[in-house]
């Protein structure tokens, strides 16, 4: 019936076996909490989650499309298709350094699987992304394009890959930030760097041939490229998606490793 209660063995924190039902309940209640808070404190909660990427699409369109004359057909739509998934990634990573710190009083006093806190944050932003897909469809229709049947496979495949990737990185950042608080400032900086190193506001074809191979080293690039291909043309490119998944699995392996190494010392430093 109980979660941690049934685990009387004093095994290392991250490795304790947890009742599946308990884990599900914990994850759901934390997501529910985040959603409720967002909608209770502001009626426009959902609209804000749309307004942010749309506002960025607008400003990038003005700066790069009109002023710098980037030659990409339907550039506003192009921006929107990249910025919505980007927003999920960026929001979760921005929030990640404070996930454990923000729950210090709990982390210090009770034992529960703390990585669920990170999963809840990432899933919460993911839910907002999924809810914004109808808006992307609306823009497609406005540009005389339409959603494709391939979305039925593509969206779950990419949502899962992105969750895995972001969860892994966020778990690593949340854990490490307890020990090196400077990471909080670095994270904000790195996410901005990553935005401009990833083909979000420009197309990968615009990168000079000599640098294009470097794109494979960017763990986020294959994901964003896959999203945009899927939204704009309904196409799924197996090698790109495979690379996105490879990075996702690497991220979650690394994140979990760091978490398992450090989790038992969280209460000392939080």
């Amino acid at each position: 019936m109980r979660g941690p209660a049934s685990c009387l063995a004093r095994t290392p924190y991250a490795c304790r076996s947890i009742h599946g039902e308990y884990l599900k309940d914990l994850l759901l209640i934390l997501i529910q909490k985040e959603l409720k808070i967002r909608y209770k404190s502001s009626w426009l909660g959902y609209l804000w989650s749309l307004a942010h990427p749309l506002a960025f699409a607008l400003i990038y369109y003005v700066a790069f499309g009109i002023f710098m004359r980037v030659q990409i057909p339907d550039y506003p739509l192009f921006l929107i298709c990249g910025l919505f998934p980007w927003q999920w990634l960026a929001n979760s990573l921005y929030a990640s350094p404070l996930v454990f710190l923000g729950n210090a009083s709990l982390v210090k006093r009770v034992w529960f699987p703390r990585n669920v806190l990170v999963a809840a944050v990432v899933l919460n932003d993911g839910i907002h992304f999924v809810l914004s897909i109808p808006v992307i469809s609306g823009f497609l229709l406005a540009y005389h394009l339409s959603p494709s049947w391939s979305w039925l496979i593509g969206i779950p495949l990419l949502v899962l890959a992105q969750f895995t990737l972001v969860y892994g990185v966020a778990l690593a950042i949340a854990s490490l930030n307890l020990f090196f608080r400077d990471l909080e400032r670095l994270t904000a900086l790195l996410v901005t760097f990553l935005l401009f190193l990833t083909p979000v506001v420009y197309a990968d074809s615009m990168i000079p041939a000599g640098y294009r191979a470097l794109l494979h080293l960017n763990p986020v690039a294959p994901l964003i490229l896959s999203w945009r291909n899927l939204f704009l043309s309904g196409s799924l490119q197996p090698p790109v998606i495979a690379l996105a998944w490879l990075y996702a699995l690497l991220a979650v392996a690394l994140g979990s490793l760091i978490y398992q190494k450090l989790a038992s010392r969280f209460a000392e430093v939080v």
């Binding site: 019936m1 109980r2 979660g3 941690p4 209660a5 009387l8 004093r10 009742h19 039902e21 308990y22 309940d25 914990l26 759901l28 209640i29 909490k33 409720k36 808070i37 209770k40 404190s41 009083s105 709990l106 982390v107 210090k108 006093r109 009770v110 034992w111 529960f112 307890l178 020990f179 090196f180 608080r181 400077d182 038992s264 010392r265 969280f266 209460a267 000392e268 430093v269």
Partner: protein
Amino acid sequence: MVVRFENVSKWYPCYQPILGGLKTSLLHLPETLRSLKKGRMRALDGISFEIQRGETVGFVGLNGSGKSTTLALIADVLRPTSGRVEVRGHVSALLELGAGFHPELTGRENIILNGILLGLTRRRVLVKIDEIVAFSELESFLDQPLRTYSSGMIARLGFSVVVHLEPEILVIDEVLAVGDLHFQAKCREKISEFKRRGVTIVLVSHSTEEVRRLCDRVIWLSDGKVVAEGEPRGVLKLYEEAAALRRSPVGQSVGEAEV
């Protein structure tokens, strides 16, 4: 035996934020790493004790003497640096005011959130929720957001959740005197009921009066060591005398001379 500490020591590392900027730290990496490792602080210094099933044990001591560290070791959120900690049974911790609650959620939502965070499944919390609400006597506020509650009401809600967790070992850190006199009486009644049912209670309090009334045994900690241990009257008398000596500047030197 439900809790056993065998020669337990606990050192806290002092993780300093990297000072002097990242560049300097990276350029002088060996020194940076050394400074990260050097700062350590001892919270417990080889303490041993046992707590039997159904006992109520109080820890007293000045701030920083290791009481909260001891409770955190029992609750299994910390691991000892050396020595052995053995705990048999489910530990429920009474959290400080409002921990695990969110001001924007209603009382009811907070009960569910808190219950799950403290280790129950949602189903168990829903079975218990009527009892929890009845105990808290906050029925009429239940669907109001927690931010409209007074601090006494929040404490009542928190206490009500924890006492319905079916604890085998209840850990209480300085949070017993909650709510108004009427609710405090209910808390005392609940604690007595726990004692009758054989629940083990471990508490930390600065109120020697409270410790005397509730505890079967008292352990006095100072600088991470057990100074005295035994039945409340004797240990608390020593503890109060020592505290009084510490307060008066003349007494201080006398106290040190005696030690």
